[in-house]
């Protein structure tokens, strides 16, 4: 395979890459000038549509299509929310972009806002990114000073304001309607849909919510054209008429038990093996891998035998995972007990469930309590079936919750127990030799603390 030349991360190693001066020295804001100098909003929309860009936030919804859901000839205002609430465990690609190349994101954001006729953009950033916060704020200030933001940008007649909004540290704020609720000053309880944000979103106005990396991709598409974008990645599966293909470069976050963890840019469709070997320098300490998370913990688990899974939008689904998610690959080596992995995962989702829908609120907390008990050596084989039953019945896929958080909670449970059942059973039998076969409810057990 020919060496892939990074595009999104091309500038991050330059000195002062986060400043306007450095950004402009490498051709920054040329794309914006081109757009404002003669392209129509519909032209940009068509360009992005033609590129086949799919949202980088996790769901992989075609970005151009999302933009066309906005009502036609709306009197406004239309709002644009940039989702920088990057909280999926293992994911840090937005962080790299915001800390090292914020202007690329902002240029993409301005172009996206122009395409969607939004005159106000909210940059919703997670609380835990203090450096990104400073750098994006500084970059926005520079843009105002340079005339890339504010009234009548570059004399085009188009005006845009960007407001940074700092979240208060909740995973659910990354869900697009949770983000909107949080932005409006309420609890981040995801909204029921319809109406979708494109019809009624922030402040009851049409709203687009896009990911940081998506915005960066928009900038690159404007610079390099839709043809370039489509030349990278995986074309649609001819046997699946609903597959729009996975085009473009992608920022893969590689972490876990790996020699060289980091954020790497590669064409969509790279396999887990290639990512580990070509970029990550192999599994650390000469150990073997046991499993990997394909795209953030909510996407589930791949076993070491499944590392030939291509990391495009359709790939992990074929291996029983939820999807590509944020393309955050976490490698788990052979020393990690899967009981610990699942316990950690359950703890995260129980902690982060917003508590709105009964099946998610109670299901995630019940699963954690069962995992606590299994870890404490009081598990029973029956618990595994119960965990699977919970996992199979929560989420938007069976229709029992409002948002997808519960699906994310369910997938690690399903994959871990189904793919590593032997290990779970062995653990339970070993730690609870007298009671593992118990099938009746045992006498009331004190809640075992997880901390």
């Amino acid at each position: 395979m020919a060496e892939f030349e990074p595009v999104l991360l091309a500038n991050i190693h330059q000195e002062d890459s986060h400043t306007l001066r450095a950004y402009e020295s490498t051709g920054g804001y040329a794309g914006l000038k081109k757009v404002l100098g003669g392209m129509s909003a519909d032209g940009v929309k068509e360009l992005v549509k033609a590129s086949g860009l799919r949202g980088r936030g996790g769901a992989g919804f075609p970005t151009g299509l999302k933009w066309t859901f906005l009502p036609k000839d709306h009197p406004g205002p239309i709002y644009f929310c940039l989702n920088a609430d990057e909280s999926e465990p293992g994911t840090f690609n937005n962080r790299i972009l915001m800390e090292e190349d914020p202007h690329q994101v902002i240029e993409g954001l301005i172009i996206s806002c122009f395409a969607t006729a939004a005159s106000t953009a909210y940059f919703y950033m997670r609380y835990e990114y203090p450096l990104a916060w400073k750098r994006v704020q500084a970059a926005v200030d520079e843009c105002y000073a340079a005339g890339y933001l504010g009234k009548d940008i570059l004399g085009s007649g188009y005006s845009l304001d960007i407001f940074l909004h700092r979240g208060a540290a909740a995973y659910i704020c990354g869900e697009e309607t949770g983000l909107i609720e949080s932005l409006e000053g309420r609890r981040a309880w995801p909204r029921i849909k319809p109406p979708f944000p494109a019809v009624e979103g922030a402040f009851r106005k049409p709203t687009v919510v896009n990911n940081v990396e998506t915005a960066a991709c928009v900038k690159q598409i404007v610079d390099r054209g839709a043809g370039w974008f489509r030349s990278i990645g995986v074309p649609p599966d001819p046997n699946n008429p609903r597959d729009p293909g996975s085009f473009g470069p992608k920022l893969y976050c590689l972490s876990g038990h790996i020699e060289k963890p980091g954020c790497y840019e590669a064409p969509l469709g790279i396999t887990v093996n290639e990512l580990i070997d070509n970029y990550g320098g192999g599994v650390w300490r000469g150990r073997k891998a046991k499993a990997a998370i394909p795209g953030g913990i909510s996407m589930g688990l791949l076993t070491a035998d499944e590392f030939d899974c291509p990391l495009d939008f359709a790939g992990p689904g074929k291996y029983g995972c939820l999807g590509l998610g944020t393309a955050a690959v976490v490698v788990i080596d052979e020393t990690v007990p899967m009981v610990d992995f699942l316990h950690n995962s359950c703890q995260f989702f129980s902690h982060e469930s917003c508590g709105q829908c009964t099946p998610c609120r109670e299901g995630t907390s019940w699963a954690l309590k069962m995992m606590n008990r299994i870890k404490a050596g009081k598990g029973r084989l029956k618990d595994l079936d119960l965990l699977l039953e919970i996992a199979d019945n929560i989420g938007i896929i069976p229709g029992t919750t409002i948002c997808g958080l519960a699906d994310g909670a369910a997938w690690p449970m399903k994959n871990a127990i189904r793919k590593f059942r032997g290990e779970f059973e062995e653990y339970i039998k070993r730690t609870n030799p007298d009671g593992y076969m118990e099938t009746n409810p045992v006498p009331v057990l004190e809640i075992i603390g997880a901390h």
């Binding site: 029921i192 902690h351 009964t358 609120r361 995630t364 019940w366 229709g399 029992t400």
Partner: protein, 537 residues
């Protein structure tokens, strides 16, 4: 015309009718269980109890395509061609899951829970839940705290439907209630220093589908299954909310609002809700007495009508003061009776108590300044029969000019309604009959003291501020020794049998045009009498 298919049954919707899955299923006779949905509040679709299967019927081919996932009935609109399936294995499993989830941390302390017997969690679990508990976790934390003067929160009984939170935001508008914490640690709470303190606060207890919110006035007073519920009308103000009086063995335990889209929707105010204490006031008068030379002496009810009849017949000019707490039937009977003796008998509208100004809430619910239920009804009886409306103040003025030698005064107010100066003016009347529930200055100077009824003991109808007539029957029997106004007038008029308020109302509708819309009809939401005002123009 839209056609919706529920469990294979076709339901026709009227033009412009907007129903959700739960409502349209109810039309088809299918009960879709739900916690968070309430017709008077916004839809949040979060409890997930109302999950159903849905699909569409192709209008051309008639072919039905079902959606793969379950949807909440509350959030799914019923439009032409919508298909709902409320009974299927998938739906049953989903309901069982939600029920199991809700009981994981629920204390299941039904024996000491006020809601037991009228609890959705109990009823739904019985119908849709699993037979065994699989979650062997210690659930009981038994935490409680006061949310305000009227409501106690039992934290661990809550199912997080957020009805109460939405009520305080959307209906009462003070938004005191909120959700704190996240996930399974969520709780309903108030902000420190800002308790639940609004005039509609008691409604959150009715809204709570489980025992999480307890009414401090009712808490631990009575098991709900021992109580009988009687439709009635609130006498707190001239809104005339439709209510239920809940009693056991002639003791009222609580009032609850009764749905009436034309009057109070689903709500009632705290003033009305807790305004029944006078029914069981130990100070209530219970003996009919006659003033004699050596103070008052008891009279027998059996001989009283004849005695009163003789006394009144001997009088030259009679006046009857009709309290706005009387039902229209009672007012009409008394008016007919005195006018039967003295054709020119003066008909007076009793004092109309008012307090403050009308108070309107964001939902449109209004607590009126006029603190009596039936000013309009009594007024119309007086105007209809006497062609002249004499107010209490007018009457006290005219008393000295006109040689009135017999006055029949009715009371039944919740609070003190006459004072010494008024009593002074009436003290010279030779025959003063006072009929009231609680003693007052006027009572003390009466020639005849007749104990009367309170609202819970009356039969009849009230007409509210908007000319809506609502009829009701007694909920409790009056204390021993009391004969209700209606019963006494019935006897004075020598009507046969027991007092029949409906028969009186029928006479009334024939005699007075204002009431004619009520002729021969009964409606749980009451009757709009304005219909006939248009006809009379």
């Amino acid at each position: 015309m839209a056609t919706v298919i529920v469990d294979g049954k076709e339901i026709e919707l009227a033009a412009g009718e907007r129903l959700n899955g739960i409502q349209v299923a109810a039309r088809a006779g299918a009960d879709v269980p739900h916690y968070c949905w309430h017709p008077g509040l916004t839809v949040v679709a979060s409890c997930r109890m109302c999950l159903v299967e849905t699909g569409r019927r192709d209008p051309a081919t008639g072919e039905v395509t079902m959606f793969p996932k379950l949807v909440p009935g509350c959030q799914t609109p019923a439009t032409d061609g919508t298909v709902f399936i409320t009974k299927s294995d998938k739906v049953t499993a989903a309901r069982a899951m939600v029920e199991e989830d809700l009981l994981i941390r629920h204390p299941i302390d039904c024996p000491i829970c006020d809601k037991a017997g009228e609890c959705s969690l109990q009823d739904y679990h019985f119908e849709h839940g699993r037979e065994e508990r699989r979650a062997d976790l210690k659930p009981f934390t038994s935490r409680r705290r006061e949310l305000g003067d009227t409501v106690t929160l039992f934290v661990d009984r809550c199912v997080m439907c957020t009805r109460c939170v939405r009520f305080s935001r959307e209906i009462s508008g003070d938004a005191e209630l909120m959700v704190v914490n996240r996930g399974a640690h969520e709780e309903i709470d108030v902000f420190p220093g800002f308790p639940l303190d609004n005039k509609l606060s008691g409604n959150v207890v009715d809204l709570c589908p489980v025992g999480a919110l307890g009414d401090r006035d009712f808490l631990y007073k009575q098991r709900v299954w021992f109580m009988k519920s009687h439709d009635n009308v609130c006498v707190g103000c001239s809104t005339g909310c439709s209510i239920k009086v809940e009693e056991n063995q002639d003791k009222v335990y609580r009032l609850k609002p009764r749905e009436n889209p034309h009057v109070n929707q689903w709500w009632m105010c705290d003033e009305g809700r807790y305004g029944w204490k006078h029914v069981h006031d130990p100070a209530r008068v219970t003996l009919p007495r006659r003033a004699g030379k050596d103070g008052y002496e008891n009279v027998e009810w059996s001989t009283l009508p004849a005695e009163l009849d003789a006394k009144l017949s001997a009088s030259k000019r009679i006046a009857a003061v009709l309290s706005p707490h009387l039902t229209v039937e009672e007012a009409y009977q008394l008016a007919k009776y005195v006018r039967g003796i003295d054709e020119q008998a003066l008909l007076v509208l009793g004092p109309v108590p008012t307090a403050g100004e009308d108070e309107c809430f964001p939902s449109g619910f209004t607590i009126r300044a006029e603190k009596c239920p039936n000013r309009r009804g009594v007024e119309e009886v007086i105007v209809g029969l006497a062609k002249e409306l004499v107010t209490w103040d007018d009457f006290l003025e005219r008393l000295s000019d006109e040689s009135i030698d017999a006055v029949w005064v009715t009371g039944g107010y919740k609070t003190a309604w006459n004072d010494n100066p008024a009593a002074q003016k009436l003290s010279s009347v030779p025959l003063l009959i006072v009929q009231d529930a609680i003693a007052s200055p006027l009572w003390e100077i009466a020639t005849y003291q007749l104990p009367g009824a309170t609202f819970a003991e009356r039969d009849g109808s009230y007409v509210n501020h908007a000319d809506r007539l609502q009829s009701f029957k007694w909920a409790v029997r009056p204390p021993a020794g009391v004969t209700t106004e209606g019963q006494l007038y019935w006897r004075l008029l020598k009507s046969r049998g027991l007092y029949n308020s409906r028969a009186v109302l029928d006479d009334l509708t024939r005699e007075l045009l204002y009431f004619s819309a009520a002729a021969g009809v009964e409606c749980e939401y009451g009757i709009d009498l304005k219909v006939n005002q248009l006809a009379s123009v």
